[in-house]
């Protein structure tokens, strides 16, 4: 299906989704059938005004490139790091973006005349991952990036929990004698399998520290071997926690570390196997059959953001003056 064909549909059938990261925005336009009509990436601005500007210009550029007029865009969903008040469309403490407090939905709506909805990036990605992996029932999306967090999706909806910490498995301690975490606790899951913690522990220059660690481990470097084991151990621990607390059927793994592809997949599976070796109980969970790695560069977060935007009810979709 081409962008032109979709734009010919009556009304405002196109949903745009944006995954706003620390360095780039990943944007998709989605038609009513859920097909991705177009995708582009733009640099993210720094600070509140620049973040709004880069979001607005990305939507305009995506519409232009996809051949969809802005008047055909029914909603824009934005997945963004930090604490998100989804009802108010507000983001606070998005430190990687230089944002302290931003009424993102309001400001972007005023600029474009299109309804915006804002969601935490990992929660949005969880929704997109559920669709991309075709999982029904319950699933968790485990994001292995600079940090580690998960989102839980039950019957197609984001599991919100009571205070917004559902899926915060990155800061569960699994070793009281482990490395100190940025959060102040010791031995958090994130200290084992977060890209940031691994890069810090590796301590050597390089643009892709986790790839460097894997390559050095293959060459027998003892520190790299230990850190690679840590990564697999931490990810396996996160999977176990998600299954033994929320009992999700499947854990879909995404995030920047999926650039390691099958080397990551096989390592996590091996760690789950090793954990189950001595335990009939752990074996009975069949965890290695319940994980799935998204392909590197998967548009899970942007697609999920588009779905979040699509949840804006019809009555809310009134063009602004």
């Amino acid at each position: 299906m081409t962008g032109t064909a979709a734009a010919d549909l009556p009304g405002r059938p196109i949903r745009v989704g944006l995954d706003v990261g620390g360095t780039k925005i990943d944007a998709v336009a989605v038609d009513p059938a859920g097909e991705i009509l177009g995708r582009l990436r733009r640099a993210t601005g720094w600070g509140e005004d620049a973040v709004v500007d880069s979001i607005v210009s990305t939507v305009v550029a995506l519409a232009d490139e996809t051949g969809v007029p802005l008047s055909a865009v029914g909603s824009v969903g934005v997945g963004i790091p930090g604490l998100v008040d989804a009802d108010a469309g507000r983001v606070v403490h998005a430190v990687n973006l230089g944002v302290e407090s931003l009424d993102l939905a309001d400001r972007a709506e005023r600029a474009l005349g299109v309804p915006f909805r804002v969601e935490n990036d990992v929660k949005a990605a969880a929704l997109g991952a559920a669709v991309l992996s075709g999982v029904s029932g319950s699933m968790a999306y485990l994001n292995l990036g600079t940090g580690v967090a998960a989102g839980i999706v039950v019957d197609g909806s984001i599991w919100r929990g009571s205070r917004g910490t559902a899926g915060e498995v990155g800061h569960i301690s699994v070793d009281p004698h482990g490395r100190l975490c940025g959060c102040g606790q010791r031995g958090c899951v994130e200290t084992f399998c977060g890209g940031g913690a691994l890069a810090k522990a590796w301590g050597r220059p390089g643009a892709l520290p986790v790839r460097d660690i894997f390559d050095a481990a293959d060459a027998g470097d003892p520190l790299a071997l230990a850190l690679r084991d840590d990564l697999f151990f931490g990810a396996a621990a996160a999977v176990r926690v998600l299954v033994l607390s929320a009992d999700v059927e499947t854990v879909v793994i995404g995030g920047g570390l999926t650039a390691m592809g099958s080397r990551l997949d096989e390592g996590i599976r091996a760690a789950l196997h090793a954990g189950a070796e001595a335990s009939p109980f752990a074996r009975s969970l069949r965890l290695d059959e319940r994980i799935e790695l998204l392909p590197a560069g998967s548009p899970a977060a942007a697609l999920g953001a588009a779905l979040v935007g699509a949840s804006i009810s019809e009555k809310e979709i009134v063009p602004h003056g």
Copy 2:
């Protein structure tokens, strides 16, 4: 309200709930307003036939003692350890009861002519604890007994998860170098705060090993001090896992170890405080304000079982025979 008054209500208004433990059955009769009309405890039989017999005779004795005719009992709910297929009313692998596989609901219904519903004991207790503690929204019930497990209740319903392992926090490892668990893994939450694991590590005779450990710790015994710290550490870890994965608003703590009362409560709160001391993130969770200890001997499990039974739909309530 007296049993007689309740029995005068038309139809079959009384709900009976049984908590079947390894040594005793705790039974309650509940009126339509949720008031407990009567409660009694009986010894549990060993093996499949004896378990059915002791359940049937407990219901008869409870009805008799409460002054409620069996014809006024609309349902019996049974909370029982082991793997429960709630839809089929079947229990398997209840090792503490000598039960390998038992069609409990069928057999008990045939004996009494009252509809039975069966549920895992911790899940039933979670439902009862939600009512007793007056918690709305989401809560977890953390059972600290011989073993450790939790049940999650959301908006008044048991959170089932996909394969029945929701809330199995007892077998999440929180220390890779910890004690070997009965399940074959190392450093499980249960190895720190399960009454069975603590008694084994204590290794001295006595009917109430956890009380002995607390008393010896007060007297300065080094092993007892270490084990008491383990108990607080493990319970605090379980609370953190429940909040950071399922994000329940409140964790209600019950089970045999609540016999230790405020000594347990204060110790767990102190462990949560200590964990939060170095971590603004952990402090922001305000975990010490989100736990609640049930009084020792609370009828949470039996009451929850009565609620499980009450969920039998009207059309299922047809007298047998």
